[in-house]
C-alpha cells in the first residue's frame, strides 16, 4: 500500500514537472528570432572552442593521453550534461540564489508541490538547448554507433546533469545562510564547468582530489566520457553513487536553509 503510494507520488511529480518544461519551452518559442539566435549562438561558441583544440592538436599531437577525438568526446559530454541540466532546471545556475535572497520562494511555497523541484524546473535556459544539441552531435561523431554506446551517452549525460544540478542547488542554497551568494554561487558553478572542459589528466595530486570532490569537474566530464568509451560498469556505479550523494547533500542543505527562511531569519525580510 505504502509503496504504491510512493510510486504514485513520483508519477504525479514527474507529470507536473513535464508540464513545467513544456510551458517553459512554449513560452520561449513565442519569440522565434531570439529563440533561434540564442541556440545558434551557443553552437557557434562551442564550435570555436573545438576549433582551438583542432589547431592545438594539429600542432602538438597528443597531450597526456588526450588526442583531438578524446577532447571532442570530453567536451561533448560536458556540453550534453550541462545542456540537459540547464534546459530542464535553468534556475540552478544563478537564479536560485537570487530567488532565495529576494524572498521569492514565497510564491512557490503556496503550492502543494515538491518545493525544490518546482523552483528549479521553473525556468529553461534557452542557449543550453544549443549546448545540448552540440554536445550530443559531438559525441555521436566520435563514437561507434552501437546500442550500448548510445545508451551510455544518454545515461552518462543524465547522471552528469544530475550531479551538476545537485551542485547548483548546494551553491544556490548558500543564499539561505549569507546575503548575496549570487556571485559566489555563479562563480562556483562557472568554475566547475571551466575545469570540466579541460583534459582531466592535466591535474594530479591535490588538485585532482579537489576536482573529484569539492569541485567535481572530473565527475561531470572525464568520467562520463570514459564510461562512453570503455563501457566500464564500475564507472557507471561511481556516477550513480556521486549523483546520489550529491542529491542527498543538496536536499539536506536546502531543507536546512528552508527552515531558516521560514523562521524569518533570512537577511532580507519583507515586513
Amino acid at each position: 500500500m505504502v509503496r504504491m503510494d510512493w510510486l504514485k507520488q513520483i508519477g504525479i511529480e514527474m507529470r507536473f514537472l513535464g508540464v513545467l518544461v513544456r510551458l517553459n519551452l512554449a513560452s520561449a518559442m513565442e519569440y522565434r528570432a531570439s529563440f533561434i539566435s540564442q541556440i545558434v549562438g551557443m553552437v557557434i561558441n562551442n564550435s570555436i572552442m573545438l576549433l582551438f583544440w583542432f589547431f592545438f592538436f594539429d600542432r602538438f599531437g597528443e597531450v597526456r593521453g588526450y588526442d583531438f577525438q578524446q577532447v571532442i568526446l570530453l567536451f561533448g559530454m560536458v556540453a550534453f550534461g550541462f545542456g540537459i541540466a540547464m534546459v530542464l532546471s535553468g534556475n540552478i545556475y544563478q537564479n536560485l540564489a537570487y530567488l532565495i535572497a529576494q524572498g521569492r520562494l514565497d510564491y512557490y511555497l503556496v503550492f502543494p508541490r515538491h518545493l525544490l523541484l518546482h523552483v528549479i524546473f521553473s525556468r529553461m535556459n534557452i542557449s543550453a538547448i544549443g549546448d545540448l544539441t552540440f554536445g550530443l552531435v559531438a559525441c555521436l561523431i566520435v563514437v561507434p554507433w552501437r546500442p550500448a554506446t548510445l545508451l551510455a551517452i544518454l545515461t552518462a549525460g543524465l547522471l552528469a546533469a544530475a550531479i551538476l544540478t545537485a551542485y547548483g542547488v548546494i551553491a544556490g542554497s548558500l543564499s539561505f545562510f549569507w546575503g548575496s551568494a549570487e556571485n559566489a554561487s555563479a562563480q562556483m558553478f562557472g568554475s566547475l564547468i571551466t575545469f570540466a572542459l579541460y583534459p582531466d589528466t592535466l591535474f594530479s595530486g591535490f588538485s585532482r582530489t579537489l576536482l573529484l570532490s569539492l569541485l567535481p569537474a572530473v565527475l561531470i566530464g572525464a568520467i562520463p566520457a570514459q564510461l562512453v568509451r570503455t563501457l566500464d560498469v564500475r564507472l557507471l556505479l561511481a556516477l550513480l553513487a556521486a549523483a546520489a550523494a550529491g542529491w542527498l547533500l543538496a536536499v539536506a542543505l536546502f531543507s536546512l536553509g528552508l527552515r531558516r527562511y521560514e523562521s524569518g531569519s533570512a537577511i532580507n525580510v519583507n515586513l
Binding site: 576549433l51 582551438f52 589547431f55 592545438f56 597526456r64 579541460y198 589528466t201
Partner: protein
C-alpha cells in the same frame, strides 16, 4: 607687439589644452572612483582568472614536457604562461561600451549626447577607460600569484615597459574603434550583441587569446597577421614576453595603420549617423 601676441596665443592654446585634458581627466577620475566602489563585487567575479591560469599552466607544462627543445616558436614555458596572463588581461579588460551605444541609438538618446560639447566618442572612451584600467589591474593582480609560482619572474626590463604600454594603448584604441563601430550598427540592425560575439570569436582563435598566433598553421597565421584582431591581444602579450625594437616598431606601425583604417570607417559611420539623426529628428 607680435611677440606678446604669440605669447598670449600660446598661453590661450595652452590653457584650452589643459582645460580639455582636465575635463577628460575628470571624467576618467570619476569613473575610476566608481569602479573602486565596485571592487569587492568584481573580486567576487574574478575567481575565473586564477583558475584559468592554473589550468593553462598545467596544460602547457604537459606540452613542453613532451619536447626536447625548450622553445616553441621562440617562446619558453614561462614565456607562454606570462603571455597568456597578459592576453587574458587584454581580453577581460576590453571596453563594453558597444552595448551602451546601441542602447542610446535604440532609445534615441544618442541625439542628445551628440549635441554635447565634447565629442561623443571621446566621452565614451574616457568613460570606459577607468573601468577598463581597473579590470585590467584586477585580472593581472589576481593572476599574478599563480603565474609567479609556475613561471617565475617575467623576462622583462624596466625600460621596456613604456613601449609595451604604448602598444597596450594602441590595442585598446583599436578595440575601442571596433566596438564603437559595432555599437553604431544599431542604426541598421536590432541585434548588435551577435556582432560583438563574432568579434570575440575572431580574437579567440586568430587574435592570439588562446595561444600565440605563431602556433597557428602558416596559412592561417598569414591571414591573422593581415587582420587587426591580433593587434588587440597578441601584440601586447608577445611584446611583454619577448621584447625587441623590431617587433615594437612592427606592431606600432601596424596599429597606426589599422587605427587609420578603423578610424576612417568610424568617422564615415559617425557622420552618416549624425546625418540620419538630423534628417529623422532623433
Amino acid at each position: 607687439m607680435s611677440q606678446t601676441t604669440a605669447q598670449t596665443t600660446g598661453h590661450v592654446m595652452g590653457y584650452r589644452l589643459r582645460q580639455k585634458l582636465a575635463k577628460y581627466g575628470a571624467i576618467t577620475a570619476i569613473n575610476f572612483q566608481n569602479q573602486l566602489a565596485y571592487i569587492w563585487d568584481t573580486l567576487n567575479r574574478s575567481l575565473f582568472i586564477i583558475f584559468i591560469m592554473f589550468i593553462f599552466a598545467q596544460l602547457w607544462q604537459a606540452v613542453y614536457a613532451t619536447r626536447t627543445a625548450p622553445e616553441i616558436a621562440g617562446l619558453t614555458l614561462p614565456g607562454i604562461i606570462w603571455y597568456l596572463l597578459v592576453a587574458e588581461m587584454m581580453e577581460l579588460g576590453k571596453f563594453r561600451h558597444d552595448l551602451k551605444i546601441s542602447e542610446e541609438v535604440k532609445d534615441g538618446s544618442i541625439a542628445y549626447t551628440l549635441v554635447r560639447p565634447y565629442h561623443y566618442l571621446a566621452y565614451h572612451f574616457f568613460n570606459g577607460l577607468g573601468e577598463t584600467i581597473v579590470r585590467m589591474a584586477l585580472v593581472f593582480g589576481l593572476g599574478l600569484p599563480v603565474v609567479l609560482y609556475y613561471a617565475g619572474r617575467p623576462d622583462l626590463e624596466l625600460w621596456q615597459l613604456p613601449p609595451i604600454l604604448l602598444v597596450v594603448l594602441g590595442a585598446m584604441l583599436i578595440d575601442f574603434c571596433v566596438l564603437s563601430t559595432i555599437g553604431l550598427l544599431a542604426f541598421f540592425t536590432e541585434d548588435t550583441a551577435s556582432f560583438r560575439m563574432i568579434y570575440q570569436k575572431f580574437v579567440f582563435v586568430i587574435g592570439g587569446l588562446m595561444f600565440p598566433i605563431d602556433f597557428l598553421p602558416d596559412w592561417l597565421q598569414w591571414i591573422a597577421r593581415l587582420l587587426p584582431f591580433h593587434l588587440t591581444t597578441y601584440a601586447p602579450a608577445r611584446l611583454f614576453v619577448d621584447f625587441s625594437w623590431t617587433q615594437f616598431n612592427h606592431f606600432l606601425l601596424l596599429q597606426l595603420v589599422w587605427l587609420g583604417i578603423l578610424g576612417t570607417i568610424l568617422w564615415v559611420q559617425y557622420r552618416s549617423a549624425a546625418r540620419r539623426l538630423a534628417v529623422n529628428g532623433g
